[in-house]
Assembly symmetry: C2
Homo-oligomer: 329 residues x 2
DNA sequence: TTGTAAGCGTTATCAT
DNA sequence: ATGATAACGCTTACAA
């Protein structure tokens, strides 16, 4: 391994000078600079990031902590974060928690021990409920899930409004017996439930039903199965995340129940399948690219200005009206 | 930051002893050990991984270099790699190259500078073509794309057989005018083309057509559009990756051409949409979980035995016969 | 069984 | 403008 010492020797200067050239920190004589650059090129020298990190007590890395990178929402976020980080010369450490608080804690610790400069974090339900006491000693941006903590920046969707809008869309299209299926793993499900109920209430209605279940395809499947096999069926199903939407869709297909003729289906998040199936699924599209980018930018702002007070950015969802919820009759 | 020195002081021992306790390296007196453990617990000490890495000249991190984590194939691989790494106490640095050799080189260098212990790598076309000369100074496992290099382990799919089987399936179901669409970004497309042509030849046939295009949805869309608007149409389209499959499917939908009545569609890789659409798409399922796991395991084996000669693991694809290619007529 | 001290590759402070 | 050197936190000969 060629180190700064070798370069110094080759250029006939001290390691300090090489370091200065590298960091572009004057004062430095142009001539010396040239000599050092030549040596660097000739030896094909590359600074050791680990040593630099040890010395600086931080590193050009950020941690990304999410439940599962296979969730299309997080995949998209992950990619956006990586892009934004890359532009600043940062790299991304990927951490999947599986909604498991222990894995989450382990990763948070690991990121700390790795001297990452910052963390972008979608916390589990358990974490959120105790987040008030938590001290983030590394700059952290929370995404997707509301948390009550003074220290962390946040990038969230306006879930209540989004759910309200999605529900109103169903109402406008003539649906009245609307069942709701909500994820029970985060505050997000609760907020979407809120918007759902508000919209119905404002139209003098109550939910046909409202259930909180684990955010998995099979939960959506069983819940929908129960709902649809009853004599008294809903005419629409509202789902609070794309896993549940998929489960409901599968149930409809399994039991040959036509969407939207027999019931309308709406949900959250853009997925490939949701666009490709017939009819395509009406959803609230979250601006994933923007969420990832904003989170990363917030992080970098915080890094350059550590004692700025935390801010929360709330983004709007975008209703994509599609075939799964066209006007009734 | 509480360091090993603080622990040593608190326990009334030297830093060396603390280090030994941490590493569980005898000889160490049980009593001393206890005292050290107590101090560690009391001070809530956590070893600094960066310092450890600098000293050891390696780190418990591996790099994952792929073209795009949003490609469902790589998403699945990424998750499998992360799982396998996690079990060994390793973490994963995520790198997206976008098939861009410069970004690829930059990341390879970065991983080097970060002292990662190993790399799991799906190289660009350009890289592969010069890979013979490349010296991997970090243990590297190549996945998905064949490369001619003596140093790297590899985990590949038997693409020729898989494509052969997929083509034979079409033939068995009565399709004769089969068009092929292949990705031009890697050796993978070439190999699948090979299997495609072989199968046809063995049945005394030639391709209706065979094109190499960039592996993007819109390339698949335009190629399919051209193919399907001609007077003389194929009765089946074979695609070599899921981006192209999606493009062809979209074209069929756009122009209201019925699958499989007017043409059959087959491809590679499991996607959510491919299962959900009607009819579902016949594909060769790659064992993504196994590929990721195997690659990671190969890496760890290599780490514990650095001068073992490189090995290549070839996995078989699994034909999932679905509605998009049912028997003709 | 334990302690001392060198060294991993940088950077920042203080001299010169 | 540049050089010498300490320090970041850890591990590992080597000594005791």
């Amino acid at each position: 391994m060629t180190s700064i010492k070798d370069v110094a020797k080759a250029a006939g200067v001290s390691t300090a000078t090489v370091s200065r050239v590298l960091a572009n920190k004057p004062p430095i004589r142009p001539e010396t600079r040239e000599r050092v650059m030549a040596a660097i090129a000739q030896l094909n020298y590359r600074p050791n990031l680990v040593a630099r990190s040890l010395r600086a007590q931080k590193s050009a890395k950020i941690g990304l902590v999410v439940s599962d990178i296979r969730n299309p929402f997080f995949t998209a976020i992950g990619r956006a974060v990586e892009d934004a980080a890359y532009e600043q010369g940062y790299s991304v450490l990927m951490c999947n928690t599986d909604e498991n608080p222990e894995k989450e804690m382990l990763y948070l610790n690991l990121l700390h021990d790795e001297n990452v400069s910052g963390i972008i974090f979608s916390p589990t339900h358990q974490f959120s409920s105790q987040a008030g006491d938590f001290h983030f000693d590394i700059p952290t941006v929370i995404i997707d899930r509301l948390v009550h903590n003074k220290e962390a920046d946040m990038v969230l969707l306006d879930n209540v409004s989004a759910a309200y809008e999605l529900t109103e869309h169903l109402l406008a299209n003539g649906y009245r017996k609307i069942a709701g299926l909500f994820g029970d793993a985060s505050a997000t499900g609760q907020e979407r439930h809120q918007g759902f109920v508000n919209a119905l209430r404002d139209h003098g209605l109550t939910p046909f039903s409202a259930e909180f279940v684990s955010p998995r395809i099979r939960s959506g499947f069983s819940a929908a199965t129960a709902l649809l096999q009853n004599a008294d069926q809903p005419d629409a199903i509202f789902t609070s995340n794309s896993m549940l939407t998929a489960g409901v869709f599968q149930a409809a297909r399994e039991f040959k129940i036509k969407i939207p003729d027999e019931f309308a289906l709406v949900g959250f998040d853009v997925t490939e399948w949701g666009e490709f199936v017939d009819p395509p699924i009406t959803v609230i599209a979250q601006p994933t690219e923007e969420i990832g980018r904003t989170a990363t930018e917030l992080l970098f702002q915080r890094l350059s200005n550590p004692n700025r007070s935390a801010r929360t950015v709330i983004l709007k969802g975008n209703l994509l009206k599609r075939g799964s919820s066209i006007a009734k009759r």
